[in-house]
């Protein structure tokens, strides 16, 4: 993979086709774990890690198991199985090795299991016909896009906590309005689509 290709793929995954703000995938952790920047960053890093791992694993399983056996129609089922097992593994690893991060992520870590962003990246890899390196790059960079979006969103929400807004907007309504404005801002990156 040439450097230009890497750059273009990264730019696409992070900004132009941001998973949260353009594709609207992975909204659950985006809203749930974005009250504090520190936990948002932790969640973003966990998602990035899981997405990169999932991309690699699903590519291998898809290419060497599903395609030879003509089982592409079982893609969704197989990928969900793989991702669930992978997240369990990551959870165990974190609990043992990085207890602080494990505590910070709390109940949100198992949420990655059913996170559509992770399944989404696996399926998009197949649909776009990426090879192994492209898949892992796309997975990791989509995760970075998620990290970027959730950290920006969390810092905005931290500031909103000190603002005055109508009482009826308290909590999720104002968060959704914020997310919508952020999403509109990211729409502007469509203009960067110069590579293809």
């Amino acid at each position: 993979m040439s450097l230009t290709e890497f750059f273009s793929l990264s730019l696409t995954a992070i900004l132009i086709e941001n998973f949260v703000l353009i594709k609207f995938l992975g909204i659950c952790p985006f809203l749930g774990v974005s009250k504090k920047v520190s936990t948002a960053a932790g969640m973003g890093i966990a998602v990035t890690f899981v997405m990169a791992m999932a991309s690699a694993l699903t590519y291998v399983v898809n290419t060497y198991l599903l395609v030879p056996f003509d089982l592409q129609y079982m893609q969704t089922l197989a990928f969900i199985l793989l991702i669930a097992a992978l997240v369990q593994l990551v959870e165990m690893f974190l609990q043992k090795s990085v207890p602080a991060l494990y505590q910070a992520l709390g109940i949100y870590l198992p949420l990655i299991t059913t996170n559509c962003a992770v399944l989404g990246v696996a399926i998009l890899n197949v649909d776009n016909g990426y090879n192994f390196i492209q898949s892992v790059t796309y997975g990791a960079m989509s995760g970075v896009g998620f990290l970027l979006a959730i950290v920006i969103f969390a810092s905005v929400r931290e500031r909103i906590a000190f603002c005055e807004y109508p009482k009826c907007f308290d909590g999720f309504p104002i968060a959704l309005v914020t997310a919508a404005l952020l999403s509109m801002a990211f729409m502007g990156f469509q203009g960067l689509n110069i590579f293809g």
């Binding site: 089982l71 793989l82 097992a85 165990m92």
Partner: protein, 276 residues
């Protein structure tokens, strides 16, 4: 067609089996030894994560108790029931430490001289920032009720211009003490019979000129005490609750009427009566 179904079922079944074995192995490798008592104790706690115990939350407190870093009776909201349950799980006696309550070391309020009329933000913290507060005595209760707002148990109120603790409701969490910008709220044993209701470390002559209810450091109480339980340090009488037996001799001699039994609301009238 049956071959197709069989193929799909077997492939995914094998995939699931491999993942299962992998997870089983991983759970052995990454096994974390957790003390089951932590979960048992956490189940006993109210789960409100109020932070009254000084830890980040109920589960943090539970693990601290098991590690022996916290007292079984430190849970304020859970009270005696939680303390006994925790002690039972840990197999120790319930900490017989006395219940502590907040106490306001000031009986000034309305009877303390004012330097100026303060009309700004109605909070003790804000008022204390303006030229060191509108009250002449820099150790006096400002009476705007920052402590009242901080109390989750409705146990502290402003009466006659100064804060006053309701000992039946107070749980001793200490929130008011840390909120008070003057730092004149302390924690004393709930059964403490006698208290000196002043915090002024100013000299007697100055105290006399600015407050009718201030300790002037005359040491009459010290001389009267047979149990060596009251001392004047920095122009202020303080009671040593380890030694105090509650005989009440000191409050009889106090010329300012600020040493009182229990937490009685000290007003101008009751003070004058006691000083007689």
């Amino acid at each position: 067609m049956w071959i197709e179904i069989l193929k799909a079922a077997l492939t995914l079944g094998a995939l699931g089996l491999i993942m299962g074995v992998l997870l089983a192995v991983a759970s052995r490798i990454f096994a974390v030894h957790t003390d089951e008592r932590v979960e048992q104790i956490a189940a006993l706690l109210p789960g409100a994560n109020c932070g009254g115990c000084g830890f980040a939350g109920c589960s943090a407190y539970a693990s601290a108790v098991v590690r022996g870093e916290a007292s079984p009776s430190a849970c304020v909201a859970g009270g005696a029931a939680a303390a006994q349950g925790i002690a039972k799980i840990l197999g120790v006696d319930v900490d017989t430490r006395e219940r502590r309550v907040a106490h306001v070391y000031c009986s000034g309020g309305d009877v303390t001289a004012r330097r100026f009329q303060y009309t700004g933000v109605q909070s003790c913290f804000a008022a204390s920032r303006v030229a060191n507060g509108p009250v002449e005595c820099t150790f006096a209760c400002l009476g705007f009720g920052d402590c009242v707002k901080s109390c989750a148990f409705d146990a502290i109120h402003i009466e006659a211009g100064h804060a006053f603790v309701d000992r039946d409701r107070c749980t001793g969490c200490g929130k008011c003490a840390s909120t008070c910008p003057r730092k004149i709220i302390g924690l004393i044993p709930a059964a403490a019979p006698i208290s000196v209701n002043c915090s002024s470390r100013d000299r007697g002559a100055f105290v006399r000129s600015v407050c009718e209810a201030g300790c002037i450091g005359c040491t009459l109480c010290v001389k009267k005490c047979e149990h060596d339980a009251i001392h004047v340090v920095d122009n202020l009488a303080r009671i040593d609750y380890e030694k105090c037996v509650g005989c009440g001799e000191c409050l009889k001699v106090c010329p300012r009427g600020i040493i009182r039994e229990e937490e009685i609301l000290i007003t101008a009238a009751s003070r004058a009566e006691a000083a007689l």
